[in-house]
Symmetry: C2
Subunit: 202 residues, 2 copies
């Protein structure tokens, strides 16, 4: 007897997003374990927040919420065995890294790149907005940093990331990480397992 065919989980993420960090670090392994296909969906939160009338991260706009988030993230990372060093700048520029993901979203190495960028931002306090930092991470993964960066800056890639961000808004996405399974939207690291279970039902 075979079960239903699982549907893919679309993982919508932003490199500056704090709660995307613990989710991004485990989503590939969790989907593989559940036999659920994973689709990486990089997008930019900035334009999404702007559309909601916010010109900064809600964690900066609402300080009590921000203070709580950092402590909550500490607890989550501790429980998950993930290192965490609070970034000295928040939110960090994520445009280049997001464009790389848009250009190479189905490359075999993209999961490793995504985890490396999150680790640089949230475990090592490196400025992921700097092209040298990104080049360094690409080199560490055995990629040709110059070629990858050039592809990321291609007009077609820029348009793809813009379209993907518009698509996020159209899907009702207002924060990251968000998971989409069929018509169903799940928001937050707290819903990662629920979304995978939903996808498994087929």
């Amino acid at each position: 007897m075979t079960g239903p065919t699982p549907r893919p989980v679309q993982f919508w993420f932003e490199f500056a997003s704090t709660y995307s960090y613990p989710a991004a670090m485990r989503v590939e392994a969790a989907c593989a374990e559940a036999g659920v296909p994973l689709l990486w969906r990089p997008f930019l939160l900035g334009p999404v927040f702007t559309q909601q009338g916010m010109t900064d991260s809600p964690f900066n706009i609402y300080p009590a919420k921000g203070a709580y988030m950092w402590r909550d993230l500490e607890r989550i990372c501790a429980a998950q065995g993930l290192p965490l060093r609070r970034p000295s700048a928040f939110p960090r520029g994520s445009l280049l890294a997001a464009r790389i993901c848009a250009a190479f979203d189905d490359a075999a190495w993209i999961g490793g790149f995504i985890r490396a960028v999150y680790g640089a931002n949230f475990a090592e306090d490196r400025d992921i907005g700097q092209p040298e930092v990104i080049a360094n991470l690409l080199a560490g993964l055995g990629q040709d940093a110059e070629a990858v960066t050039a592809a990321a800056q291609d007009p077609g890639t820029k348009a793809k990331l813009r379209a993907q961000t518009e698509r996020a808004v159209a899907l009702g996405i207002f924060g990251a990480p968000s998971m989409v399974v069929g018509d169903e939207l799940f928001w937050g690291n707290d819903r990662l397992d629920t979304s995978i279970a939903w996808a498994r039902r087929g």
Copy 2:
């Protein structure tokens, strides 16, 4: 061998708060099962939101977030076997019910009253801001509605609820439900089990 003495969980709640509904319906049973004392902490979200510069529920201010919340709440209630009927008015006036909880926060019947008010608001779409509705719920619990309401309107009770709301802000609370264990703050229905586990450690 005996384990550490569990610390109490302070359960900070607001009757208009959607995610407080599934949490409030199970917190007493969950704490009892874990051997953790429960302290009911009613407060008002309105003044807390005002202090953050919001004049309405964030779910109304940010429509995408609001649309998501109602669907997410449906899924949560379905998983928990809880009835849900989206209130025809949101948020509902919670002042009288909150004052009753402030006046009788350690009465044996208060847990039942709290669940009855949440059920009226979120399962039956009744206007919990109306004194008749509250009187009806009190009568259903065998309480003297007139005497309870009079105690709730006592200046001492009003001052107590005001002080409790100020205390919530001082504790860093910015939403509901929130759980406090010692110095540790937990926010949201999603953190209820984590907060109880934290309290069990002593």
